[in-house]
Symmetry: C2
Subunit: 245 residues, 2 copies
């Protein structure tokens, strides 16, 4: 049973920022090599599902942990509010075309999990429908795994204090101001509702386990996100195939 | 009038491999920053059209010159032999959905230019149709430019000797063998035909000029490809927009 209140949003004591930043640069070099092997090997796909409250750093994680690989082999899909057209279909319709092909890494910046989170917070769907969605997602992830897709689910875990600070930063730092919108002021008010909704998702949709990443410190978050991907890729025992005869 | 026979495939005399490699790493850091600004600015799109004979290094250029930027803002489309479905449409039908959105960089690994090159070599279309395609492409590129798309057209220029060597490398180097296919042996036989076809394309479709990149040395090619992109991005006078009121 995952209880976010019992999981720290901070790096382990003694973790040194400069060490982690230096090491992330090494991790990126390793990822550059291993992604090439994944592509050449051609047997596996990788799906990274990035979730987290507003300002938890999904964009930053993609920018810092997953840059450096060949852009030909790494694709990102951002799922925003569904369009009118998308709303006329079941919630997986817009997602399906974006699952990664063999040899490819696909990052979902938000995902089908929003289709449980948002209606839970807005109370726009019955519990029965929400539970059905959760069970569908479990089946879907199982099905993808069985077809050689490595699924890595990241939850970026921040504290309410850090969230408030980041919204302030968007207003005060010139190179972050473009990210700010008036609605951002309302984000902290929804803290408890979203945390509750995440509890449902983290506990009901856990056949493929979640990686809960302490994300109050960007340097620790970026390092952890890259490290998990690297460790999991290593387990795949990737190899360059022999020449075709 | 472009004449490929008169353009060197080698770096300028005195160019030092280690210097260029080091400098490429600096260029990538600058690109990392500037791509973020392009995305935040939101007024321009960038389309990089990568063309060149087989083994000229299109994949390698993407991997070495355009990695390092945020994968959320850089997308690659590889155009392979058209599928049966795609053949049932005009040649631009499969291309159109892949043009870059505002704020985004899109790399075309091969492009609509193949739809002139291949039928020219195989003599499968009349000159009239081919000329019509060339004029359509000129109009399309003009139209995209007028809609704030920066179009960068790269021709990776290699010598026939270098091509032969690279095909040999695919057979002899273990980490390159997966790229080798029996058909590769036929590539050098088509050298003259493709060079002729490229002459047509480089001279008829030049309203947006081509960058002809000497590509016998990978380090010079990678550096040049990144440098052109950086220089052109700088000319856009990108800026972080002010906060919305």
């Amino acid at each position: 049973m995952v209880d976010l209140d019992k999981i720290s949003t901070l790096p382990p004591e003694g973790a040194d920022k400069q060490d982690y930043k230096q090491h992330l640069s090494d991790l990126r070099d390793e990822l550059f090599q291993l992604q090439n092997k994944l592509y050449a090997d051609g047997r596996y796909s990788v799906l990274i599902v990035l979730q987290g409250l507003d300002t938890s750093g999904k964009d930053g994680t993609i920018r810092h942990s997953f840059s450096g690989m060949n852009p030909q082999g790494v694709q990102v899909t951002s799922f925003k509010k569904p369009s009118e057209d998308e709303m006329k279909h079941d919630f997986l319709w817009r997602v399906y075309p974006h699952f990664p092909a063999k040899g490819m890494i696909r990052v979902f910046n938000r995902s089908y999990y929003e289709d449980i989170l948002v209606p839970t917070v807005h109370q726009s769907l019955s519990d029965e429908v929400l539970l059905h969605r959760a069970s569908l997602i479990n089946e879907l992830e199982h099905h993808l795994s069985a077809s050689n897709t490595l699924i890595l689910k990241y939850y970026l875990h921040i504290s309410p204090e850090e969230q408030k600070e980041r919204i302030e930063e968007r207003k005060s730092k010139p190179h972050k101001r473009w990210k700010y919108a008036k609605e951002d002021e309302k984000i902290p008010l929804q803290w408890d509702d979203y945390k509750q909704a995440y509890h449902t998702v983290l506990n009901k949709c856990n056949h493929i386990p979640w990686h809960i990443i302490p994300s109050d410190k960007r340097w620790y978050r970026n390092h952890t996100a890259a490290k998990i991907l690297l460790d999991e890729l290593k387990k795949l025992d990737l190899r360059y195939p022999d020449v075709e005869e």
